[in-house]
Symmetry: C2
Subunit: 321 residues, 2 copies
């Protein structure tokens, strides 16, 4: 069995935290204890591949870059993505290696820095379609100032009310392919636990010379994780988030948890608008793509229910059909 796990932001930094090294390592430990538990149940032919979000870390780095801009040139979003892949790849790798050592498991772990190809004609790149908020919430005055300083930015009101309702938003284009997939596949085949495509991967397009070139964007990490699942030939795609199950009629009186469903049911629910865009929506969409590609099972659940969900005891589980 080849299992690809996509870790949510809370696996590394919780919403109420500032993001100190201590806090982040503590969260990584909670996450990787569980990953080590999963590895300990695997046979020699099984494989674990990990991907993760980077929202809070990229947000913090953007703030540092902005405050420090008179001293040091800010880096572009592609480089920011790469830096957070380094940061989170390190913390996950270190804590996972330690737990594997405790269990006497000698499985190599490697975190790779990798790019994901997007289409420069993706609708997210046009007009003010950009949908991914990044960095701090701003007041209207701060938003106007940011827009004056950076006429190329898209600064939007992202909450209907509240003083700090504005944020910079960047395009979130659809991932087409994981670049370096041949290398990642060889690593997985060689028995390495690979951490890849962090933060949705570093977004790049093909320029007029056929060269990869970074773009100011953030790719959804679950949709990018699904592309990675194809590369490594995963059987099971496990998305870990902050809820045990996806819900139908979310936020309504007739709200209802989703357990085991088929691909066609999942398609129907997604088309029926049951899941929030930018939240459960892309997760379900990623699961659907995975099954359409040929995956055997996609699961959405919370970190603490992961082992039970892998045994089919809880979580939203989508299977072919």
């Amino acid at each position: 069995m080849r299992l690809l796990v996509a870790l949510g932001g809370n696996a590394i930094k919780q919403a109420h935290e500032e993001g100190t090294p201590e806090e982040q390592f503590a969260n990584c430990k909670t996450t990787t204890t569980l990953m080590a538990e999963i590895v300990s149940r695997m046979s020699e032919k099984d494989r674990l591949i990990i991907t993760h979000g980077n929202g809070p870390q990229a947000g913090n780095l953007l703030v540092q870059q902005d405050v420090g801009k008179d001293h040091v040139p800010p880096q572009t979003m592609d480089i920011v993505g790469a830096m957070t892949q380094g940061q989170i790849g390190y913390m996950l790798q270190q804590t996972l290696l330690n737990f594997l050592k405790d269990r006497g498991l000698k499985v190599p772990v490697a975190a790779v820095v990798n790019q994901v190809l997007v289409n420069e004609d993706d609708p997210e790149f046009f007009g003010d379609a950009a949908s991914k908020p990044v960095g701090n919430f701003l007041t209207e005055e701060e938003a106007k100032q940011l827009q004056r300083e950076h006429p190329e930015y898209i600064v939007k009101k992202v909450k209907p009310k509240g003083e700090r309702a504005w944020r910079r938003t960047v395009p979130s284009p659809d991932p087409i392919a994981n670049i370096g997939s041949e290398g990642i596949k060889r690593m997985v085949d060689a028995g390495i636990i690979v951490i890849a495509s962090g933060g949705g991967g570093i977004p790049v397009v093909l320029d007029e010379n056929g060269h990869y070139k970074g773009v100011e964007a953030v790719i959804d990490k679950d949709l990018a994780g699904e592309r990675l699942a194809e590369v490594v030939n995963a059987d099971v795609f496990l998305i870990l988030t902050d809820v045990e199950k996806a819900k139908l009629n979310f936020g309504k009186p007739n709200e209802e948890e989703v357990g085991a469903i088929t691909l066609s049911e999942a398609r129907k629910y997604l088309a029926g608008g049951h899941f929030l865009a930018g939240s459960m929506g892309p997760k379900v969409k990623a699961c659907i793509r995975f099954l359409e590609w040929g995956g055997k099972k996609a699961i959405i659940t919370s970190l603490d229910k992961a082992v039970e969900a892998l045994k089919d005891k809880t979580g939203t589980r989508i299977i072919p059909g």
Copy 2:
């Protein structure tokens, strides 16, 4: 032939530059054009492994973290190292992949985030022995203020004169082993061009539970590169810096360039104090270690002379004997 190349700081950011994304990508292109040229001359059994410095990038990030410290918690040196591995690993990987594509070469490239083990009893961790300056040059007043804010820092006068003669210095412990070496070895064996141990690797020690734990330190990238060369079973270790050859009696009237020398000659020159500590010294030391381990040839030269040096036409070349 397995070749490990250690790239100096000027391969990514030149001393007079600020470090904008454009500048850094331009430098990376100059560097990786050459790497692609080297790959194009290799046979299918040959391997290229790349390591690199991170001084300017880590310095810039430390400044951003310090200026932004009232908004975002600064990360520790181990995490800073990991972030620069992501940043530089991305830029080198992207530009190298593009040049390989231009030449029709389909060799996978992977940049990995990886740790290097040091000894917590290393003399660099004690008293004010720390020898690696990081971050900006400071005035005496700024140095005193930094010391007041961070009593745990070692802030030193690093130049005999000049207004800005003070800097924070951190321990630069001797690298013992590359962690994750089994994974890196499997990747190289599988035909992947691996970029690893960037910035000397993320410095970690073993704690009382036998767990890896990050430390506030910076490992010399050439000494760490030598440990990586052992892991990947390199035949040739090529250190690229800003001079074509090392020099005897450096800075004196009888200064003399070093061409092809034996291991025992190299040992004699190093012991004779011919090479600057923190500059040519560790490079020659790394070459000596490489030959003592069993390497066939170590070369120190400049980026633009690399191809000629590999043909034995220039550079300081150290061989067994």
